[in-house]
Every structure is written in C-alpha cells, then in structure tokens.
Amino acid sequence: MSTDHRRPLLSVESISKSFAGIPALADVNLQIGRGELFALLGASGSGKTTLLRIIAGLERPDSGRIRIEGRDVTGLPAYERPVNTVFQSYALFPHMTVRGNIAFGLKQDRLPRETIEARVREMLELVQMSEYAARRPHQLSGGQRQRVALARSLAKLPKLLLLDEPMAALDRKLREQMRVELVTIQKRVGITFILVTHDQEEALSLASRLAVMERGRIVQVGTPREIYDRPASRFVASFIGQINLFEGRVIERAGGMLTIRPDDGGPDIRATDGAAADVGDAVAVAVRPEKMRVGRAGPGANVRRGLVRHVEFLGESSVVHVEIGAGPRVRVSVPHGNGAAMPSTGDIVEVSWPAEAGVILRN
C-alpha cells in the first residue's frame, strides 16, 4: 500500500456506542496523523476507554466507521488490525516470562525464530528490561510491568499504539520519569501513539495534540498550547488548569474589541476575542491566573478591586485568592523572585489583566 501523507493515519467517523441504552460515545469524529503522540483527555466515565477499544477492535460501535490509512477496518476483528494496545491493567500473561510475553505477538505471525529473538532483544533494550527477560510478571514491580507491556505491544511494530491510562498505577515520581521515557521511545520508534488519560498535566506535557472528551463527546481538539490558551468552552476551561470566570453580557462590539457588562455589577470588562459573540449574548470572560497581576497594569487594562482572602505558597510562585465585591473569588498567580511585594491576607488590592488575556466563552 502506498503511503499518502495527506491522508490521516486514523480516522474516526461518526462513532456512536451505547451500553444498555445509555450512550457512552455520541457521534465522535477524529483524525490523527502519522507520528503523532495524541492524547485523549477526559474525566472518568467520559468514554475514553470505549473509544480506544473501538479503535482496537475489542468493541463494536453501534454506528460509524474506523479507517486506518484510508482502509475501512470497522468490521475487522482485533487480531487483524495493525493496532496494539497497552492495557490499563497491563494484562501480562502470568504463565509466561517477560521474553515470552514480548514474543507472543510475533509468534502469532509465524515469523522465523531468529527474527523473533532479535526483535525481542531489541525491545528489551528499548525499555531497559534486558536483565529481567527470564522473570515472570509477578516478580516485577509496577513500573517494570508497564515497560514489559509497552515492549510487548511495540514488538509487532503496529501502525498505531493505544495506551489506556498507562501511568495510572504508578507513583508520582515514577510517573514523571515514565512520561519523559515514553516521549523518547515514541520518537525513537516513530509509531503513532494515542494515549488515554484523565490527568490534564500528563496530557499537556506529553501530547503533540489532544482531544478533550466530555460525556461521550469530543469537545475540543488542538495542541496543548491552543487548548490551554483558547479553551472552547467553560468545561474545557475549567477542566484544564485553573481559570477565573467572569459571567456577563456583551454590550458592545467594535473593532475586534468586546465590552462585557459583568453580572456582579462591577466595571465593564474589555476583551479582544471578537469572533465568538454578538451584542446581547450571555458569555463568560475566562482569564488564567498567571495572566493576571496584583496592582495596576498599563492603559486599557481591566482592573478590579478586592480583598485578599488567602495566599497559597507553591514554591516558584504563590496564588493570591482575592474576593471581588459580590463577584467571584479570583486566583492570581504571582511569581517569586522579581522583587514584587507579596500581598498578605486582609489587604485590599487591585487586580488587573490586559484585554488580550481574556477568552470569551459562550453558553
């Protein structure tokens, strides 16, 4: 088959799936290109695993198509798809050694013995498990099992590797180390990865692109930067990172600048996100804590006055919680080390942010 680089490696077309009448996936569409490290991010129960299982062929969709390199694989059983999975529980075969586990998939293809041995050796080196080749899964730690699971599913050099919450069972330190390793391995083998996670930090730090899922739907697709800076909905904005929301109504729209009258009765807010809303629309202005500052900003900035309720020390920065009149409590991230005085609890302060920092969210 010739490789066409304009064609996506994987396309998920209008996939729907219900369990006993309760929808788990509703009209999901997604296109993933060759060599991507793509993350599916969503809360528990949002349908991530179901989507992954449908791509792998372990679950049948009620409707819709799955294409890999343009070929419709919707009707193909799992064992005929060029896709391999790292299961959340790892699902290593307890009656086989590490070597036996990694060789399992290759044996199914009836490859010559030398080829299998060479590939297994290569995979053991890739995940740095060569010394453990003769062990059984129950003799390994959680992190080691995960490496074996990864090696086992990479051994067949699939076109697509699916990873279902691969770090969920690891402790925090190991998780951060494995993140770095996973990216390195993915670059080395050049295989497209789809990684499922409910951990936004993991998705943002690992993925080249990600899709945010909410109750069986994909609500936004983009690079981590795009999704962080320009969340498409209240859900995405609050699911990823911290964000301050000012509810209000658009009262003026001029030259790409919106004026919003906040519901809490405070001064009008100016924001540059023009395309999203019209005069009269109910919207929220979303501002990241690190885009706000304590004190007055340059001309044209939005300013609100409030009472410092709490200062949260986080190491390289602190988060100042400010109560603004009848309005929301906002969080302002203040970096340490630039000489600025840190406000204390009980202070009356002004918080400000430039018009470009606000993102308009509808509905």
Partner: protein, 291 residues
Amino acid sequence: MTGGREHSLMRAAVLGVPWLWLSAFILLPFSIVVAISLSVATDAQPPYVFGPVLDNYRLIVEDTLYLAALGNAIRIAATSSVVCLFIGYPMAYAIARAQPRWRGPLLALVILPFWTSFLIRIYAWMTLLRPTGLINQVLIDLGIIDAPLQLMNNAFAVHLGIIYAYLPFMILPLYASIERLDPSLLEAAADLGSRPWRRFLSVTLPLTLPGIVAGTLLVFVPAVGEFVIPELLGGPDTPMIGRLLWTEFFNNRDWPVAASIAVALTALLVVPVAILQHMLAPREEAREVNP
C-alpha cells in the same frame, strides 16, 4: 518472654486441631487397615490374626485376577475422566462466561443431583437402561428397533454411570479456574494477533490447567475404586478392583486380602497425585501474586 510463648502455644493449638483430626480419622484407621493387611485370615471373630506376613500382597500381585481388575478399573476411570473433561469444560466455560446473575442458578443445576441419594440415581438409570426400560420402550414404539438393545450389565453402562455420577466433580473446579481467568488476558492475546482457537490453546488452557488437573483427579481417583456402579450397572466383562475388594470383604470374609487391596490402591493413587500437586504448586502461586 511469656508473650512470645503464649503466642507460640496458640499457634501450636491452632495447627494442632487439623493434625488431631487427620490423625483420628485418617491416620489411625489407615494404620489399622495396614495392620490387617499384614495379618492372616481365620474363621474367628475378628476374622484375622496379626502376622506380620506379606502373603496377602504376594497373592494380589501373583494372582492375575487382581491386576486385571485394577487395569480394567484404571482404563474405565481414565476413559470416563477424559469424557467428563470434554463434556465438563464447555459447560464450565459457558457457566463462567454467562451473565453474573445466571451463574448461581446454572451452578445450582449442576449440583442439584446431589440432593438425591446416589444409590437412587443409579437405580433410576437401571430403570432407563434395562431391556424393558424406558429407552428401549420408546425406541421400539417408534419402530427404530425391533428387539431391545443390551444397554445394561456391560462396559457401556459402567462408563455411562461413572460419567453421569462424577461430571459435577469435573465441572466445579473447572468453573472455579475459568471464572478466575482475567478476560483482559484474552483481549490482550486478541490484540496481539491471536485467533480464537490459538488464544484458547496459549492462554485459556494453560491458565486453567489447575482446574483441569483438580477436576480430572476428583473424577479419576474415586472412579478407580468405584464399586456401586459396576455392581449395579456392570456385567461379568467389567471386573473393577473396587468391586473385587467388596467381594473379598463381604462375600469371602477375607479381611486381610481386602485390606491389602485397599492399601495398594491408596498407595497407587496417592503417590501420583502428590507428584502432580507438587508440580502445579509454583504455578498456583504465580497466579495469585499477579493482579
């Protein structure tokens, strides 16, 4: 330290109970049987005098009657065990993979026959199988056969009886090991390119081997010594060692020979079972540690 001593006393007491039980109800009776097997039969009460002599063992080895009956019993038990395995495995698999709310009722159906006496169930088979029995009657009425078939007092009936009576002992341990099998292992195998049949051979079968071994032993061991079924359903062509033992004990009143058959049979069955258990032990451990 008194605390430590109390603790070890407690331990000894806890461990002692099963040992006492085993001693009182297995070791002691078995020792008596061994002693009788080394005695000489007499026409007295009790009908033996302690030797010790090995004459009884010599007799059961030299007289081909006993070895032939043993060989026959092993053959019948082995065939029946294999048939039970082939019938029991799919049944156990279907129950273990049924919806959880169906599993209980289905298992209850497997165990249901135990609520009726074993003897009555074998008598029921006799009324089905005999020349004037239900099966022959129906076949004749339907015009399929003219004369009744010989369904009873032959090897066929003995096999049928053993398979019928011992099938639950095959299904229960198989069910336990299949139910314990993590379905995600089969999904992983499929994901790695394994077709259903190879998946069964490379994952399901090896991981349910403990159940297969347990079920086979639970059928094979008692079937070798079975005497009710060959007595009621068998014929002259189906001598089985258990039946012979019965005859020696009750008909011939030769307790020493009967006891030596019992001892020899026990040794013959316990040794291979112990070896098998030993071989399977590390596998069991591996299954339990792995999540």
